[in-house]
């Protein structure tokens, strides 16, 4: 995963007096799923639209496999597959017709297998307007990857999907990654980003305020790690010992719950204490702050610590 497939350098996009994106940088490596996170108006869509060749950057440089999207649109079209945030096809275009239509423009045979895989085989003769929102999004995804592009750009791909479709989409994303494709995923779903992405960039007011793996991001900041302990005799329930790193603690049902800034020493001290009191450990859970909590922290404060 050391080959840079997609690069954004000092990218800037301006609409009149409004600076939508202000000099951002990030790279996506081959076979990587890269998440682009940020609240509404952070600059995600402007960034994606410039990468897709729909808009021109006002500054900086962008490249997808050394192709500049704004200058070489013909080269770009077979390098990227794009699922737009709002699926948009002609209302009367049938599902199988859409597959033939777009594959013809990419000069590849129609991928009916993708329609079957995404649960659209039975809908082959249905017109686009007759599909549910979820079916429209699955069709858009099938069309985006039908020509096996090396770079796939997904804008809120699971919005409006049921659990089964979401799972199938995630499996397809993993399969694409294993096949060597790079995926740029813009999403509001932090659980999805945490589960699926290798690295993320968080955009805020047109700037990248944090980059890293989800684990790196959740390991920083002021979020506490939650340590929950259940023992046979509940010795921790009536204990006021100050364990290292613990900022606060409470009793919740059968568990003693500790919020720690330094979970390693906290857990060690807790286990030592339980053993010293001749109590028996029944359950121990350590939960890192979620990406969602970290995201909210960053977007609320505007800084990544």
């Amino acid at each position: 995963m050391n080959e840079t497939i997609l690069s954004v350098q000092d990218f800037r996009k301006v609409y009149g007096d409004f600076v939508a994106v202000d000099g951002i940088n990030f790279q996506v490596q081959r076979g990587e799923i890269f998440g682009l996170l940020g609240p509404n108006g952070a600059g995600k869509t402007s960034t994606l639209e410039c990468l897709e060749g729909i808009r021109r950057p006002d500054g900086g440089a962008m490249g997808i496999m050394n192709v500049a999207p704004d200058r070489e649109p013909r080269k770009l079209r077979n390098l990227i597959g794009v699922q737009l945030q709002t699926s948009s096809l002609p209302a009367n275009m049938r599902v199988d017709e859409a597959m033939r239509f777009f594959c013809a423009y990419h000069d590849v045979p129609p991928r009916y297998d993708l329609l079957e895989r995404l649960g659209l085989k039975e809908k082959g003769h249905n017109q686009f307007r007759e599909l549910s929102t979820g079916q429209q999004r699955r069709l858009a995804l099938a069309l985006a990857v039908a020509h096996k592009p090396p770079v796939v750009i997904l804008d809120e791909p699971t919005a409006g999907l049921d659990v089964g479709s979401r799972t199938e989409l995630h499996a397809l994303m993993q399969e694409l990654r294993e096949g060597g494709a790079s995926i740029l995923l813009a999403t509001h779903d932090m659980a999805e980003a945490e589960k699926m992405t290798d690295r993320v960039a968080i955009l805020l007011h047109g700037k990248v305020v944090a980059t890293g793996t989800p684990r790196e991001l959740t390991a920083t900041g002021s979020g506490f790690t939650k340590v929950s302990v259940r023992t046979d005799q509940s010795v921790l329930h009536h204990n006021n010992t100050a364990f290292p790193g613990v900022q606060q603690h409470l009793i919740k049902e059968d568990y003693a719950v500790y919020y720690s800034t330094d979970p390693g020493p906290t857990v060690t001290a807790l286990l030592d204490y339980v053993a010293a009191q001749n109590d028996k450990l029944i359950d121990l859970r350590v939960e890192r702050p979620s990406l969602e909590e970290r995201f909210l922290e960053i977007t609320n404060t505007g800084v990544a610590q």
Binding site: L89, A91, A104, Y105, L143
Partner: protein
Amino acid sequence: MTAFAQHFTFEFKTGLRNPNQLLLNYLFPLGFYALMGLVMTQINPGFKDTMIPAMAVFAIMASTILGLPSPLVESREAGIFRSFKINGVPALSILAIPVLTTIFHVLITSAIIVATATPLFKGVAPSDWGAFVLVALVTAFTCGALGALIGVISANSQATVLWSQLIFLPSMLIGGLMMPLSLLPKAVLPFSRLLPTSHAMQAFLGLAYDQTTTFNPVVSVVILLTSGVLAFGLAIYLFNWDSRNQARRGHPLMALLALAPFVVSIFLQ
């Protein structure tokens, strides 16, 4: 199948599947033709002499000037053009293929009119079928290009109605469809020369019916063709992928250049 063939087939089917397009391609022109055949031929028996070209031109106007612009605007507004651009569909195909398929629909409608007008309403058939087909194709191309241009420059669907009716309504009144241009007051004639229907009717009558015409029919064909080429070129130049239709290469008023040949025709003949 090539991308062009796939796109052409899809657009052709759209002309039948989309209720609005089906209405403007077939139901409206054929319904109007039936009405005119039943009523107008009784009120004005002379209408039988020009009925076939007049109804063919009416069918062309309905399909192109009224029928083409709105789907273009709706597709742009819905973001369909963005999807097309991302997947490599060129602007030329987006504009040219609907024009071509509309010409196909128009030819089918015209063929129905030509085939039935004589047996049903005693409409007079052309004396030169080759000239008739040629003029029909040129008129359909020009009106198709103007329809595409209206779709490209219109900010929204309401604007397409305004621009389309600015051409369609005068064409019905002073474009030679309902009454010969020779019967129009002299003061109105220069205005009728600004309309594609006037030139189409003059070309049909002069070249396909061998009748005496108010304008030179060959010049009318040249005027139509020049305007069509200009309109299509401007449509490509001004075409905008953006669903918000804000960024484009030129001002929408540049589209008026497509009418320049008609303005010139006032001074030519």
